[in-house]
C-alpha cells in the first residue's frame, strides 16, 4: 500500500491506469461529466433524487480510490481477465446510469402520452414508447433502480445471515453443526419461488420486504460455503497456534477464520445477485413484485407481451437489460473466483 496510490484526481494514480481501476475512473469521469452538463436539471431535483445522484457519485469515487490503493495478486489476475473486466465495466455502467436517473432520461417514466403510444425508437424516445406512450428508456432506467436496490439489499442481508449461520455452524461442536447443516439442507430443498410467492401473497411487499423475502430464502448456499471454509481452516496450524495462545472464539472467528472465507463469500454473493435479479423480475412479471407505478423490468416485459410482433422494443429492451445484468454478474463472479485461484473441483 504505497502513498502515491492515493490521490483525489481520477487519472493521476497508478492504480487507475489499468483494469478495474481504469474502468472505475472512466465511470466516475463520465458520471461527473453528465452531472456537470445537466447541472440545471440537477439543481431543480427534489432532495431525495439529488441525494441518490450525489451519493452515487460519492460511492463510485470512494470505490475507485479504494481500489486504486491496492493492486495485489488477485486484483492483477482479475485485471488480466478480459471477459470479467468487460462484464465489470458493463455492470458498473448500468448501476451508474440507474443512479443518474433523471439526468440521463429527460422524460418522466410514468408520464402518459396517448398521442405517441407504441412509437418506434426515435430521437425523442431513444428506445420508443409503450402502450400508454410512456418512454421505454426512462422506465428502463428507473426499473434498474428498483432491481438493483432490491438486489443489493437482499444480497447484503443474505450475506449477513449466511455468514453468521455458517460461521456458527463451522465452530460449533460436531452434533450442533450436524443439526444446523440439516436445517440448511432442508431449506435448500424447498421450492424457493413457491415460498416467496406465498410470502408475497400474504404480505404485499415494498422494496424492503421483497428483499427480506428473497434473502430469507437464499442465504443457505452462503452458509454452506462459509461453514466449509471455517471447518477447513480450523485444521490449519495457524488456527491451532491461535487457540493455543488463548485467543477467544469470537476473535478467532473474526481475525483468523473469516478473512479466509471472504473470497468465497464474495464469489457466492455475486453469483447470488444474478439469481436475485431474475427472481425480482419474475415476481414483477407475475404482477406480484413492486407495486405498479414503480417501473420494473419484469413488469415491462409483461406489458409488452401482446405487441412483441409489432412493437418489439417495449419488451425486448427490459429483457435485454435483465439478461445483461445477470450475465455480467455471473461473469464478474466467475472472474473473481478465477482470480482467487479456487480449486478446479469447485469450478462448476
Amino acid at each position: 500500500m504505497r502513498a502515491e496510490g492515493v490521490t483525489w484526481l481520477p487519472f493521476a494514480s497508478p492504480g487507475t491506469r489499468q483494469g478495474v481501476g481504469a474502468v472505475l475512473a472512466a465511470v466516475v469521469s463520465a458520471y461527473s461529466a453528465v452531472v456537470i452538463v445537466r447541472l440545471p436539471t440537477l439543481t431543480g431535483l427534489p432532495p431525495h433524487e439529488l441525494g441518490v445522484v450525489l451519493s452515487g457519485w460519492a460511492c463510485a469515487y470512494a470505490v475507485m480510490v479504494w481500489t486504486a490503493r491496492r493492486r495485489g495478486r488477485v486484483r492483477r489476475r482479475f485485471d488480466g481477465d478480459a471477459v470479467a473486466l468487460t462484464a465489470f465495466a458493463l455492470l458498473v455502467a448500468m448501476i451508474g446510469v440507474a443512479q443518474l436517473g433523471p439526468l440521463v432520461t429527460g422524460a418522466d417514466p410514468s408520464e402518459v402520452a396517448p398521442a405517441v403510444r407504441y412509437s418506434a425508437p426515435s430521437a425523442d424516445h431513444p428506445l420508443g414508447t409503450d402502450r400508454f406512450g410512456r418512454d421505454v428508456w426512462a422506465r428502463l432506467v428507473y426499473g434498474a433502480r428498483a432491481s438493483f436496490a432490491v438486489c443489493a439489499l437482499s444480497v447484503a442481508l443474505a450475506m449477513v445471515i449466511g455468514t453468521v449461520f455458517g460461521a456458527l455452524s463451522g465452530i460449533a461442536p460436531r452434533r450442533v453443526d450436524d443439526i444446523m447443516m440439516r436445517v440448511v439442507d432442508g431449506l435448500l430443498s424447498f421450492p424457493r419461488l413457491l415460498l416467496i410467492l406465498t410470502a408475497v401473497a400474504l404480505v404485499p411487499p415494498g422494496a424492503g420486504t421483497l428483499a427480506v423475502f428473497i434473502a430469507a430464502t437464499g442465504w443457505m448456499g452462503l452458509a454452506r460455503i462459509v461453514r466449509g471454509e471455517v471447518r477447513r481452516m480450523r485444521l490449519r496450524e495457524f488456527v491451532e497456534a491461535a487457540v493455543a495462545t488463548g485467543v477467544a472464539t469470537p476473535r478467532l472467528l473474526a481475525r483468523h477464520l473469516m478473512p479466509n472465507a471472504v473470497g468465497a463469500v464474495v464469489v457466492a454473493a455475486t453469483l447470488n445477485a444474478g439469481t436475485v435479479i431474475l427472481i425480482e423480475s419474475t415476481l414483477s412479471f407475475l404482477g406480484l413484485g413492486l407495486a405498479p407505478p414503480t417501473p420494473s423490468w419484469g413488469g415491462m416485459v409483461f406489458e409488452g407481451r401482446d405487441a412483441l410482433g409489432s412493437a418489439w422494443w417495449v419488451s425486448a429492451f427490459p429483457a435485454l437489460a435483465i439478461t445483461a445484468a445477470v450475465v455480467a454478474l455471473n461473469m464478474v463472479g466467475d472472474g473473481i473466483r478465477d482470480a482467487l485461484e479456487v480449486r478446479s473441483s469447485t469450478e462448476v
Binding site: 413457491l194 401473497a201 400474504l202 419474475t282 407475475l286 445477470v326 450475465v327
Partner: protein
Amino acid sequence: MGSFLARRALQAVLLVAITLTLSFLLLDLAPGDPLSRYVDPGIDPADVEHLRHSLGLDRPLHERFASWAGAFVTGDFGMSLAAHRPVRDILAETIPRTLVLTSIALAVQLGLGVVAGTFAARHRKRAGDRAVSFAVVVLYAVPPFYLAYLLITVCAVQHSWLPTAGIATPGLELAGWPWLADRARHLIMPAIVLGVASAAGFARFARGSMMDALAEDYVRTARAKGLPEARVIWHAFRNALGVLITLAGLSAPLLLAGAVVVETVFAWPGMGSLMVESIYARDYPVVLAVNFVGACLVILGNFLADIAVLRADPRASLEGPA
C-alpha cells in the same frame, strides 16, 4: 444401503413436518383472516361471528394447528375460497398436468445439459468450451417468460405452427391418437421453454463433473490403450453419472419454479398457474396446499434421485451418494 435410505426417508418426513408448520404460521401471520375478504360490510356481525365459529377460526392457535395439520397430512386441504370446491379435487386435476410438463422438460434439460456439458468439458479452456459456456450463461440469464413470448410470437402468432396456449384445442372432441397428438402439440412450447431454461444451470454442473471425471487416471489409461474417443467419454460419463443424477434431483425446485412462470404464460392449467391465480384471488388454502405439495414433490424428487444414484453408481452404496 437400507439404513441410508431409511435415514433419508426420516429426513424427508421431518422436512414435510417443518413445511407444514411453516405454512400454517405463514397463513396465521397473514393480515385479516380468510373470511375478511368475503364478508360484505352490510352483513350482520353476529352472522360473521357464527361463520367464524363454524369454520373454527375462533379457536386458539395450537388447536387449530392440530386439527389443520391432521387433516392436511391425510390429504384434506380444506375448501378453496374462490372455486368453492375441495382443494384436493383441484390438486388432483392440476398435479398430473404439471408432472407431465415437468417430466418432459426434465428430459429436455438432461439431454441438452449433458450434451452441452460434455462438449464443454472435452474442449476445456478452448474455443468450444468458451462458446458453450457463454451460451449457457446467456440462456440462464434470459428471463424464461421473454423466451416464451418470443416462441409464441414466432411459432404461434406469425406462423401458426403450434397452438398459442392451453392444454388442448377447446371444443374439439377427440379420442385416441388424434387426442394425444393435440395434447402433444400444446405441450411442445412450454416443455421446450422450461427444459431449456433449466438446462442452462444443469449444463454448468454437468461440465464441472465431466471435467473432473475426464481428469481421472482411468481416462488417461483408456486413451493410452487406444480406445475410441466415444468409449473414453462413455467411461467418464458412467463415473460422473452419480453426481449428475443427484444434480438432476436437486433441479426439482427449479423446475417447479419454472413451471409457475411457464404455466402462467402458456395458460397451462397446472399447479404453477393455479398458484398464481390463487394468489391473485387470496385463496390461501389453495396457496398453502400448492406450497406443501410442491415441497413434497421436491423431497420426493431428491429421494428418487438418491435411489437412482444407488442403482447407477455401485460406489455410492458403500458410503452414501456423493
